[in-house]
Symmetry: C2
């Protein structure tokens, strides 16, 4: 295996994990900057043609892991790999962001749900969607349906 | 930062990278198995409710990185972060697979584009699509258009 290294850091309005919108219906439209290390700037060539990016990052303020977790969007436990819990064997986070613009090694993005200072491990172009009619969303869809049915 | 650890391995029909479909119009409908380590099986609870998963894995047969790469789908160079090149500062791959079924710690999936034996770092549920009308695909869309325009 390998030791991770930061290719840059997230500049985010969120200084504390309590400030990040969570749970059912949470909207992630916060804007921020992916500050890529200057030495990697040539690796960003042509990235501005893509509307959306995958950002792979480190949960650097998380320790250890739990196999079963109760996510903020449900009051029932689920397997950690069926959730976005930060407490994972490899503390890797994944976020899809909208790319608003690039200035050199700085990527302005919308859809940040990471803390300020979060180390970035990788960036990849978002190339295609799963066909909408084939997408099933498991316990999350069930939790949404239960919440909607509440009087 | 942290040292990665495998949570399992990919069982894939591809024993050699030349066998993996690449380039424009490449279809990834190969079936395979994500063999998660038995100790992590409880972490898979409820995962069968999701039709699609993100698989985060290691390019374990790749060395070093190149900032500019010529991807199989185009004959022009692009920034590595605007491609899925294996030669990245952190050798992390990301694949969306369709979950066909689970037997204990084994996930049968479609859409494999990894080599047999690839170490898996993480699995996450695929929760939502980018709105189709907002998705732009940069150099890849341009390369497709050029290929389609060829006599």
């Amino acid at each position: 295996m390998f030791s991770t290294q930061p290719i840059g850091y997230v500049r985010s309005p969120y200084k504390d994990s309590h400030a990040i919108p969570k749970g059912l219906g949470a909207k992630h439209d916060a804007e921020g900057v992916l500050e890529i290390q200057a030495e990697f700037e040539p690796g960003l060539t042509d990235i501005e043609g893509f509307s959306h990016l995958f950002v792979i990052w480190e949960f650097d303020r998380s320790e250890g892991f739990s196999l079963l977790v109760e996510p903020p969007s449900d009051n029932r436990p689920h397997g950690m790999f069926a959730t976005r819990s930060p407490r994972r064997p490899n503390p890797i986070g994944l976020t899809v962001v909208e790319l608003l613009g690039r200035e050199g090694h700085l990527l302005r993005v919308r859809g940040i749900d990471m803390l300020d200072g979060t180390p970035i491990l990788d960036i990849k172009p978002y190339l295609s969607n799963v066909p909408q009619e084939k997408l099933r969303r498991g316990w999350l869809a069930e939790a949404e349906a239960r919440a909607a049915a509440k009087p």
